[in-house]
Subunit: 320 residues, 2 copies
Amino acid sequence: MQKLDFQQTAEFLRNCEDAYILIHQSPDGDCIGSGYSLQAVLRQLGKRAKVLCPDEIPAKFSFLLPDTPEEDFTPQTIITVDVADQKLLGCYAEQYGGKVDLCIDHHISNQFYAARTLLCADASAACEVLYKLYRHMGVQFDEPIAKCLYTGIATDTGCFRFSNATAETHRTAAEIMEAFPDIPYSLINRWMFDVKTPERMKAECAMIQAMEYHFDGKCTMVCVTQELVARTGMNPDDTDGMANLALQPEGVEVGITVREREAGVYKVSMRAANDVNVSAICQTLGGGGHVKAAGCLLEGTLAQVRTLLLDAVRKGLENA
Amino acid sequence: MQKLDFQQTAEFLRNCEDAYILIHQSPDGDCIGSGYSLQAVLRQLGKRAKVLCPDEIPAKFSFLLPDTPEEDFTPQTIITVDVADQKLLGCYAEQYGGKVDLCIDHHISNQFYAARTLLCADASAACEVLYKLYRHMGVQFDEPIAKCLYTGIATDTGCFRFSNATAETHRTAAEIMEAFPDIPYSLINRWMFDVKTPERMKAECAMIQAMEYHFDGKCTMVCVTQELVARTGMNPDDTDGMANLALQPEGVEVGITVREREAGVYKVSMRAANDVNVSAICQTLGGGGHVKAAGCLLEGTLAQVRTLLLDAVRKGLENA
């Protein structure tokens, strides 16, 4: 395993041929923007390149896809972007997981599964890493590439809201917007952050109405039971933003979303607003994750799961 | 009425004494950040300065207020920031409206009511104008000033989401964040954009549940009746974000929020997602505003008001 810098990565890309660019399962704006911008850049260099995603690209990101369909070819080079772990390659993990020639990523948790890795853990998004890389390569930016990069950065930072948005992130956005003033950035942001299906809006309402407040409002819990799913027609796997709902109320420190996977099996998402380490709390329950976003899987009745969770959160709040 | 450039404005501020800084009624992050940053800057120059707001500063902005209370004095200079029209000075309009020595603003609709005006209509926020002005003045930035400016810019752009966020806006944010890395920007954003009172969350749910879809979902309408207000305990004047709720559903072009002011009197907020000119629609109903955010006041029964609005919106959609 070799760690590359920007110059070495640029060199590798200039010399590679016939690349498959793999992105992660449950694709988000950052891996999609990364994948399709890199495809465009490699094509600009006269190479064949094709993005492979283990899951379907959600319709809301279709504006990032190129108009011309991708021809098929036998790959000589396997590249992953925004993929911290080869397990995240889903159905492609077995075939390509052990054969990745280059991984470009920004996750501090990167498993260094690739032969070569360009990792910038202080970058807000893989698209921020790629912007810098393309500058190194002297890429001729165009609107499709700029659109991909802006969207990746905006979505991974919650539109510049989260703590991963740095001065460098804003400077990158400024340079992209200056170079391509005609891209409808605010419309992209509306599609990415504001627009919801009526079903999603109703599901959120049902979750808010089902929200429990514990420990003087320091902890919220939303139990998404199969009954709630059936009643609202919501997609229980549509976690995007749902787990953050529990953090909305004023004064909350820990927000818990409990989803009933099957009878007696509950998938728990835990979010921290400030200083409580929810990764440590979830570890006591056999799970794990990041300091501010973690999870675990619990079995039992909903009452048992609730008691387990509240006991663990009480201790976590005391330790904070 | 004199239009000033940055150099002239800097000159004026350097020479002024004992300034009252007036901000607009229903204060938002931009006018509060503008007012208190300017107060800090003038104090840094050894001058007496005091912010006056016609309404109480909402608690969520209290972190922008200085620790030391403002002493009182007789003003020799009246300055307004982020105030497009002297009417917006509320209870101070009569006393000071005609005596404003300097207005610093970014609204294209500025009425030039002041003796001198620095207007940058392409700036996202008054705080973006002030950042540039302070650079001209050679101000020694500190954390309180930086916090004010970041908050003003973030709030006026919906956290860099809206079309007023430009390359210059992002560059300003980058410079502030680079100079003051210890300000908890993501926490500020959480307070400003994510945190809601449980009452507000419930009110939004009630509005979503009351949402009507017209013209194949191209137009939504939410009627905030006195009954709804009483049932949810919501504050019907809490327009911040409420009018935008009607724009959330996928495919909507025009979102209408109708608030029952008193029996038979309805305050209408109209928002456009894309190309429909809601200012023109509201003008046909005796109102007005911006192209994407307008309003009017209608009288009658709710059924009459609904018919009036839907007729006007139908024509507006046909014209778009």
